[in-house]
Structures are given as structure tokens and as C-alpha cells.
């Protein structure tokens, strides 16, 4: 008799098999007529210039992170919006508190200049006078 984990193992095996069989059948059945356009990275017709493995400005990451955080937090608002009426004013208040916290977070990143594209040079701290002069 299989244990619960045994079933999962069988499931994993089946999943792998399914993918392999699918790809293999497609390979056999599908027509194969490559053209130059089809082989390009972006099929929209833009020619890529140079390699994509270049250093991106670190600001992109910051913006992406901020976006991600707020995105996830906004997702929380959906279940709240659907059900807060059941809880009346209290439920409303809870949602508002959540929004206030979010708002403070936004103010914070704004105030710290993380929404500016061009940031001033960061100040590197020092502990002793000598270290400062060496810098």
C-alpha cells in the first residue's frame, strides 16, 4: 500500500512523463519551416543591439522592488473590499489603518528620494578623522 507521500511521488513521476510525452509528440507532429524573422529574439521585428548581458542601472531594481511590494499589498485590499461591509464601521477602520500604513511607506520612500531617478552621491560614513582623509 502506498503512503500519502508515495502517491505524491507517483504524481511527480506522472507529471514529468506528461511533459516529456507532450514535447516529444509535438516534435513529431508539428510542421517545421523556419524563416529569418522567426529565429530572431523578439518576433516583433526589432533587431536587438548588442548582448542582453549588460549591467543595468541599479535603480531599475529599486523601482522593481518597490513596485513588487506595493503590488502585493494592494492584492490584500481585494478580499477586504469584498467583505468589509459585513463588519460595518469597524471593518472599514481596519482597512483604513492598513492604507495609512501603506501611505506612510510611500511617503517614506518619497521622502528618502527613492522615486527620483538621479540621486545625489551617497555619503559614505567614517568612524575616525584619519579614515576620512584617506578616502
Amino acid at each position: 500500500m502506498l503512503t500519502e507521500f508515495g502517491k505524491i511521488f507517483v504524481f511527480i513521476l506522472l507529471a514529468g512523463l506528461f511533459v516529456a510525452v507532450g514535447i516529444f509528440t509535438a516534435k513529431i507532429l508539428r510542421p517545421h519551416r523556419p524563416t529569418k524573422e522567426k529565429l530572431e529574439t523578439y518576433e516583433c521585428g526589432e533587431d536587438p543591439i548588442g548582448t542582453p548581458w549588460v549591467k543595468f542601472n541599479v535603480r531599475f531594481y529599486v523601482v522593481a522592488l518597490i513596485f513588487l511590494i506595493f503590488d502585493v499589498e494592494v492584492v490584500m485590499l481585494f478580499p477586504w473590499a469584498v467583505t468589509y461591509q459585513k463588519f460595518g464601521a469597524y471593518g472599514y477602520l481596519v482597512g483604513i489603518i492598513f492604507l495609512i500604513v501603506l501611505f506612510v511607506g510611500m511617503l517614506y520612500e518619497w521622502g528618502k528620494g527613492d522615486l527620483e531617478w538621479d540621486r545625489p552621491q551617497p555619503i559614505i560614513p567614517y568612524l575616525h578623522k584619519e579614515e576620512e582623509q584617506n578616502k
Binding site: 460595518g88 469597524y90 511617503l107 560614513p125
Partner: protein, 499 residues
């Protein structure tokens, strides 16, 4: 769930709410007073006082809140939790004072707001960790605490060591929390619940596969062991403690360890104890030999910590290893699996808080001036600044565990718990360890008092810092001579942790 119920449950997490509000207030004030950050430490102090008020208010409260299903909730509030929350709060209070006088932190210039926000982030994580009675909440709170502390470890960015500390901490932390999460998922898979009380019932009732549960538990213990820096999960400790700013090192060595121990003891007792006999001994599920495992970890931890500390020339690193050793001593109180052991650990934490923070504070004041934590730079300091020398001596003697200091009473309590269970061999090993520890503690005194140096360095001690050290040193001696209040407090708090 109705509203009245909900708001009543909120009253269970008043301290946590107070901490959260403090975080927000600190952020807002940081934005408003962008030029002058002097006010932020005072806000932090205010936050601590308010939180402390709620913690004390909660002391008489006992129960669980926020049930997901069934009778028991995700958050447990009892005197045990209040005790450890108090320890964390006192440590935080000390750290705010630390940071106020730490050159490293002062030099971070405009980032004080973030610093205190992160500290309170840690406090929130630890508070929830101390109270959590659900595996998911345990995991979340540990992550909250860890993420804040990763950033704090590299906060000053003064030297490459800071970044190294933060990165190492992050990597080790990620691995251990990954392991822990895996363990939690296995436990959930086996029993269908993450609530510790229901887990207890599930383990008692159904025929679960004990080997799988045992494996899962070892993974979870790995996560907790990492937090309390027990061997063999201690590797991060010396590097992180050496690299992090002193105030954060001190904080990690006391507060996060306290939270980790509280979690460990609550987890053990809530989940695995079948019943507690009138003598306070715990009967545990026979999943594996708990006691032997804990003895091994404890002995390994203290021995590794002590022997590694022997060779350290950097005081921060030495104190890091010594804190590993102390984690080993405190595990002695856990491994006896009795209420008495728990109360001994609690007592030890209180004492450890005072003496360890005191020692770190002196190291910091000295490092502010001479810019080094190297033991050779301490030569003759006992003569040029006798006050720092003598108080540092008191803290070190207390860490060694010699009377008439509080450290002795702490160790005595642990040994009493051990010998009460007739574990003589473990007690002998522990005792030999404390002799070994004497050697490296006394070495500092040797450099301060027995070695002379020609040039005189006078180390300025600001008046409040002077008072702070004085208070710490006096309490260290006072509780060595009259320890009744702390012991009764710890005993009463330890007894309640269970329903």
C-alpha cells in the same frame, strides 16, 4: 468571528500593537525632522515605556487568541511570555542607550530613523516569536526578526567586515529558515495542523510515523538552534558578532537569544509534553531520546564556545564565543525538562542580560576612544581608567560565575536543576567548562591590570553612561547577594506555561 470578539482578542496583543505604532511614529518623525535626528532616540524610549506598560499589564493575563480552528489560538499570552518580553524590552532599552553613545551609530548620520525602525522591527518579531503558538506564526516572526537583524548587522557600512557580517548572516539564516520551513511543511503534512496545541493532541491520538515526525522536528530545531547559536549551527556567530556594530552585537547576543530560547521552551513544552508530574518533571512523547539529544547539543555548544574563546584576541569575538558558551549553559536548564530548569533558564537570562550588556557597553566606550577591540590595546587600561577597569572586571567575573556576583547565582540555579535530576556527569562537564571560561575572562583583567603601559590614555565617560555602567555593575553584585525577587518572579512565570 464577530467584532466584539475580535477587539477582545486585540487586547491580547497590545504590546505588539504598541511596538507597531512605535515603528510608524519613528518613520513619520524621521520624515518630518529630516535635518535634526536628535529626537528619534527619545521617541524610541517613549515607545519602550508604553510597550513596557502593556507588557506589565498583560502579566496577569493567560490564554490564547486568534484561533484558526478549534479552541486554541495562534497567540499565547502567559506570564512566561511576559517575562521574556520584559527581558527583550529591557535589552532594547539598554541598546537605545548604547546607540546614543556609540560613535559607530552616531556616524551613520542621516540614517538614525531606519536604525530605530529596524530595531523595533526586531522587537516586534521577537514579541510575536515569544507568544506564538502556531508554526506559521513562528516562522513569520522569525523571518521578521531575522530580516531586520541582517540589515542591522551591516548597518554602519564602515568597514568591509560589516558587509561580510551581514552577508554571512543572511546566507546562514536563509538556509536555516529554509530547513525549518521544510520541517514545518512535513509536520503539517503528517498531522494536518500547524497549531501547537492541536499538534500535541494529534501526536497523542493518531498513529503518526514517528520517524518522519522526528526528522521534521530535527529540521525545525535546526532553525531554532540557529537563532540561539547552539552548536552545530553556531558558525555564523563569531563573524557576525565581530563585524556588526557593537550595539547590535550586544543586542543579538541577548535579545534574539532570549526570544529563541523562549520559542524553544514553549515549542517543546506545548507540543510534546504529555503531562507534568507534581515534581515539575515533564513526560514527553517518545519520539526520540530528547534528553540525550539536548545533552549532546548543550555540551557541544558550551565546550566549543569556551575552547574557541580561549584563542581570541578580539574582545568582540571573544564575547561572541562566550555567548555561544552561555547558550550551552542555558540549554542545561532546558535539557532537564522540568519546570525548575525553565525557571533557572529564565533567571539566567535576566542575569545574563545585565552582565553581558554591561560588558559590551564598556567595550564600546573603550572602542569609541581607542578605535580597537583588540586585547593588546587594553594593556594598563585598569590604571588609566580605573572605573571602567573595575566595572568591566565585575562583569567578567560575573560571566565566569564566581560569587558574590549574580552570574554565580545563575549558574547555581542551573546546576541545582541538573543535580535535582541526578545528572552528575553533565554537571561535572559544565563545571569544568566554567573553569575553562575563567581563563579567557581573566586574561582581559590580566591585560588591564597586570600589564603596564607607559602612555596614559584617558577615556572620557559621559555622565549618563557612567551612571548606566554603575547601575549595571551594582545590580550584578546586588542580585548576587539578594536574588529572592528575581527567582520568585522566574518561578512563578515558569509554572504557568501550559494549560
Amino acid at each position: 468571528m464577530n467584532i466584539a470578539n475580535f477587539s477582545q482578542m486585540l487586547s491580547f496583543i497590545k504590546p505588539e500593537l504598541a511596538v507597531s505604532v512605535t515603528i510608524l511614529v519613528v518613520v513619520v518623525f524621521d520624515l518630518i525632522f529630516n535635518k535634526n535626528k536628535k529626537i528619534i532616540p527619545y521617541i524610541a524610549l517613549l515607545g519602550i515605556v508604553v510597550t513596557g506598560y502593556y507588557v506589565i499589564q498583560q502579566y496577569a493575563l493567560s490564554g490564547t487568541a486568534f484561533p484558526t480552528s478549534g479552541k486554541y489560538g495562534m497567540v499565547t499570552v502567559d506570564a512566561f511570555a511576559s517575562f521574556f518580553k520584559m527581558i527583550v524590552l529591557i535589552a532594547t532599552l539598554c541598546i537605545v542607550i548604547f546607540s546614543y553613545y556609540s560613535d559607530e551609530i552616531i556616524k551613520t548620520q542621516g540614517r538614525l530613523g531606519e536604525y530605530y525602525t529596524l530595531i523595533f522591527g526586531m522587537v516586534l518579531g521577537m514579541f510575536v516569536m515569544i507568544s506564538a503558538s502556531d508554526l506559521i506564526l513562528i516562522y513569520l516572526s522569525m523571518e521578521l526578526m531575522s530580516l531586520s537583524s541582517y540589515v542591522l548587522a551591516g548597518f554602519t557600512k564602515l568597514r568591509t567586515r560589516n558587509s561580510e557580517a551581514a552577508l554571512k548572516y543572511l546566507i546562514y539564516g536563509a538556509i536555516s529558515s529554509g530547513l525549518m520551513l521544510f520541517g514545518i511543511s512535513l509536520v503539517y503534512g503528517m498531522t494536518g495542523t500547524t497549531n501547537l496545541y492541536q499538534l500535541n493532541a494529534a501526536l497523542q491520538g493518531a498513529d503518526v510515523n514517528l520517524y518522519t515526525v522526528g526528522f521534521a522536528l530535527i529540521l525545525i530545531f535546526a532553525g531554532i538552534g540557529y537563532k540561539i547559536s547552539a552548536a552545530p549551527f553556531h558558525f555564523w556567530t563569531p563573524d557576525v558578532y565581530e563585524g556588526a556594530p557593537i550595539s547590535i552585537t550586544a543586542y543579538l547576543s541577548v535579545a534574539s537569544k532570549a526570544a529563541g530560547f523562549a520559542l524553544l521552551m514553549r515549542f517543546l513544552k506545548t507540543t510534546f509534553v504529555t503531562y507534568v508530574d507534581p515534581h515539575g518533571s515533564w513526560q514527553l512523547f517518545n519520539i526520540f531520546d530528547w534528553q540525550t539529544l539536548l545533552i549532546l547539543i548543550s555540551v557541544l555548544t558550551m565546550t566549543l564556545g569556551n575552547f574557541a574563546a580561549l584563542w581570541q584576541d578580539n574582545l568582540k569575538r571573544m564575547l561572541a564565543y562566550s555567548s555561544i558558551a552561555h547558550a550551552g549553559y542555558m540549554l542545561l536548564g532546558v535539557l532537564v525538562l522540568t519546570n525548575k530548569g525553565v525557571s533557572a533558564v529564565m533567571f539566567y537570562f535576566f542575569v545574563y542580560l545585565i552582565m553581558n550588556l554591561g560588558a559590551f557597553f564598556v567595550v564600546m566606550i573603550i572602542a569609541n576612544k581607542i578605535g580597537s577591540e583588540n586585547i593588546d590595546d587594553y594593556d594598563g587600561l585598569g590604571y588609566s581608567s580605573p572605573f571602567l577597569g573595575v566595572t568591566f572586571g565585575i562583569f567578567l567575573v560575573s560571566l565566569t560565575g564566581l560569587p558574590p556576583t549574580a552570574g554565580f547565582i545563575g549558574k547555581l540555579n542551573l546546576f541545582v536543576a541538573l543535580l535535582d535530576k541526578q545528572m552528575v556527569v553533565v554537571a561535572v562537564i559544565a563545571v569544568i567548562n566554567s573553569v575553562v571560561s575563567l581563563y579567557y575572562y581573566i586574561r582581559v583583567l590580566k591585560h588591564m591590570f597586570l600589564t603596564k603601559r607607559d602612555e596614559k590614555i584617558s577615556i572620557p565617560v559621559p555622565m549618563p553612561a557612567f551612571l548606566f555602567i554603575l547601575v549595571m555593575a551594582t545590580t550584578t553584585i546586588f542580585f548576587g547577594i539578594y536574588f529572592t525577587p528575581i527567582t520568585s518572579w522566574a518561578q512563578n512565570a515558569a509554572a504557568i506555561l501550559h494549560f
